[in-house]
């Protein structure tokens, strides 16, 4: 058992040194248009993929908090946040009214049977990826008030 733990730890620590590519998966947007994740990630501007769900309170708190400073972020870094909803068909209907009701200006993608979430091995929501030139530069899970500032520091670090 110990050996396995050491091996797992080694595997993960060596994994830290490399940035990953994004999987070749198509998702639909709220407008019904299909988007390829690999394609949209190949941008020299930073993209944030924020995995959330309508029932996840910390996710909504995080997106609400970012929404208040989002204009400033965009002005300074051209960053774009794409909110990927993992809501299944039970709560999927709530996405459109919630997003509009909250007046979020993010692009929303629907991962309703969690294909992308599974492919990226995401287990805990909220989960955030910072992506540039097709590579994942940073991954982060969970939200506490104020951690959006830390995200912005990372975005600034990777801009340019």
């Amino acid at each position: 058992m110990k050996k396995i733990i050491i091996l797992i730890a080694l595997t993960f620590s060596s994994g830290l040194l490399f940035s990953q590519n994004l999987p070749n998966i198509n998702l639909k947007g709220l407008d019904g248009k299909t988007v390829n994740i690999k394609k949209i990630s190949k941008s020299k501007n930073i993209k944030i993929f924020a995995f959330w769900a309508t029932w996840c309170v910390p996710c909504i708190n995080e997106l609400d908090a970012i929404s208040e400073v989002y204009e400033d972020w965009q002005d300074e870094t051209n960053v774009e946040l794409i909110a990927i909803s993992t809501d299944d068909s039970r709560t999927k209907k709530r996405i459109r009214p919630l997003v509009n009701g909250k007046d979020w200006s993010y692009d929303i993608l629907l991962d309703d049977n969690q294909d992308l979430k599974r492919a990226l091995n995401i287990t805990v929501l909220p989960h955030l990826l910072i992506v540039k030139n097709g590579k994942i530069l940073y991954r982060k899970t969970s939200y506490i008030p104020g951690s959006e500032d830390e995200i912005y520091e990372i975005i600034q670090k990777y801009t340019n």
Partner: protein
């Protein structure tokens, strides 16, 4: 165990040999371990499903590895370990360490082919959905093959075949599925609207246990759907027809009770900046559908082919989750049940900044209402002496016994840059007899106030106070939470709920939890000690009953 070791070593060697491999590798690890202790107040630890009171330490572990290669291929494996037994309340079919799922996928712009385990969903999932929820202990992936073919942008065709995963084994029954999705808006060149049409077939073939069966071993389901969206308005409708099949009554499959089923789902909404309205109607009649007929009604939701979530708001607080509705899809003549009918309404509104009520930062309001009842009609019991077969005859749009209703209002208010609050009120009626099998209707009012204060230097504190009053002497609950975030990595919390009512299962007992978490990047470690209330654990509208237990829990999750 040895196999796992060899597997890990080979991965390790692979990683060292080729750094490029890492760019195309994603790994997820989740480990949930509990030490169950004897509780002076609620009794000693005992696991009724494994008949065990000795193995206090239980652990559920999941390691998933996905590797992309040669541009178009992805290989995926998930190893699961439940040692020495799974956590309490999980199905016994999850036992030991083994390969849970594996698959090989090829994908190009037109074709998407999977061999091995796959997860698929047709429409809303009312006809077919394969999914995994580790918290609920659900993994009903199909093991077989799936082909998705997209000859043009506007059309997608799926064919699949498989046997369903049940623990580390597969189901007796076989599942066949075909699905077609047509993007009519692209085909007709609509500019500002979208129109999707979907048609599906799902068949389940399972040997019948009877010498002279009065039904076919193949059960057929058909589904048709339309999804429309223009500007601020959207609407979708789905109809499912389930062919004749034997019904399970009194715990046994009946060769005398043969009937079909159907489902209607309708959803419409309007939304614009600062406003959203959504309404859903759903009627289910005999829609439970399993890869093994005898699995119908099993408490672990194993072998379910379709997805029938309770369409109610998923509440987030301890006391709002005491009476949770579970969708009713089974046929039970004893309780005059053959399905459910009802609906749900949502309203989201943002009161603008710098207005009288909106204040400096605006105020966000969310309203939700749902109502569910049984199907009204005649239910006729089996009576071989009188020559009557069991049957039911229900009206299309008539509401029968009330099963559940829920009204909630949520107000989110930011007072200052460092202080925000949530006010939450819920009124619920819960038919305990229908949802849990015994009891009566309980109506409750629940109030919650949540407040978060940023203290600077990334410290913050969050409070919740909760109160539940009901018309039953058994339930009078009070609850609270305090959470303190030391920085963006460490967080600690304590919560407690207490029933001052006379419910024999929960009265005068503190269901408390104390814990903390450490998060760094995509790694999260949580520790928790506390007492779990017996009741329904629901995720995504699907529920599982969990027994009372006290213990120390460690959760680790990592993604790379």
């Amino acid at each position: 165990m040895k196999k796992l070791l060899i597997f890990m070593i080979s991965i390790q060697i692979g990683l060292i040999l080729n750094a490029q491999v890492l760019e195309n590798l994603t790994i997820g690890l989740e480990s949930n371990t509990v030490w169950y202790n004897d509780d002076g107040e609620t009794g000693p630890f005992f696991d009724t499903s494994n008949n065990d009171g000795d193995k206090h330490l239980r652990s559920n572990n999941y390691l998933k590895i996905d590797y992309n290669f040669l541009q178009n291929f992805t290989a995926s494996v998930q190893i699961e370990s439940y040692e020495p037994f799974a956590l309490l309340n999980y199905s016994k079919s999850y036992e030991g360490t083994n390969l849970g799922t594996y698959s090989l996928n090829y994908r190009d712009s037109k074709l998407n082919i999977t061999a091995g385990h796959f997860y698929s969903q047709f429409g809303s999932g009312l006809i077919l959905r394969n999914w995994e929820d580790r918290q609920l202990g659900i993994n009903n992936a199909l093991q077989g093959g799936k082909i998705v073919y997209e000859p043009a942008d506007f059309i997608s065709l799926t064919a699949l075949y498989g046997k369903q995963r049940v623990g580390f084994k597969t189901s007796e029954g076989e599942v066949f599925g075909f699905n077609s999705e047509l993007d009519a808006a692209a085909l007709l060149d609509f500019r500002d609207s979208s129109l999707d049409i979907g048609l599906s077939y799902v068949g389940r073939k399972e040997d019948t246990p009877f010498v002279n069966p009065t039904f076919d071993e193949l059960t057929n389901l058909f589904s048709g759907r339309v999804d429309f969206y223009q500007n601020n308005f959207y609407s979708n409708a789905e109809y499912i027809l389930k062919g004749e099949d034997a019904i399970k009554q009194g715990g046994q499959l009946s060769n005398r009770f043969i009937t079909g089923g159907n489902a209607i789902l309708f959803n419409t909404g309007y939304s614009k900046s600062g406003l959203g309205i959504d309404a859903t109607f759903r009627r289910l009649e005999n829609m439970s559908f399993f890869s093994e007929r005898n699995a119908a009604g099993n408490v672990f939701n194993e072998s379910s082919i379709n997805y029938i979530p309770g369409l109610t708001k998923q509440h987030d607080y301890l006391l709002t989750n005491i009476f949770v509705y579970q969708a009713q899809s089974i046929v039970n003549l004893d309780t005059s049940q053959s399905g459910e009918i009802g609906g749900q309404l949502d309203l989201f509104y943002k009161i603008k900044k710098e207005t009288l009520i909106g204040g400096k930062y605006g105020t966000k309001i969310a309203l939700n209402a749902s109502y569910w009842s049984g199907l009204k009609g005649d239910y006729i019991q089996d009576n071989p002496d009188a020559g009557t077969l069991p049957s039911y005859d229900v009206d299309l749009f008539a509401f029968g016994n009330k099963y559940f209703s829920d009204f909630s209002i949520e107000i989110r208010k930011k007072w200052t840059p460092n202080w925000r609050s949530i006010f939450y009120f819920v009124n619920q009626s819960y038919n305990k007899k229908i949802v849990e099998g015994s009891g009566q209707m309980i109506t409750s009012n629940i109030g919650v106030i949540e407040s978060t204060h940023k203290l600077g230097n990334r410290k913050s504190v969050r409070f919740e106070i909760q109160k539940l009053n009901s018309d039953s002497k058994k339930h009078d609950w009070t609850g609270g939470t305090i959470e303190y975030n030391l920085n963006s990595k460490f967080s600690i919390y304590v919560n407690d709920i207490y029933n001052n009512g006379s419910d024999s299962d929960t009265e005068k007992t503190h269901f408390f939890n104390i814990g903390g978490s450490y998060t760094k990047g995509a790694t999260r470690l949580g520790l928790n000690y506390g007492r779990q209330r017996a009741g329904l654990l629901c995720v995504g509208g699907v529920c599982r009953f969990v027994a009372e237990a006290t213990g120390l829990t460690a959760n680790l999750s990592m993604s790379f």
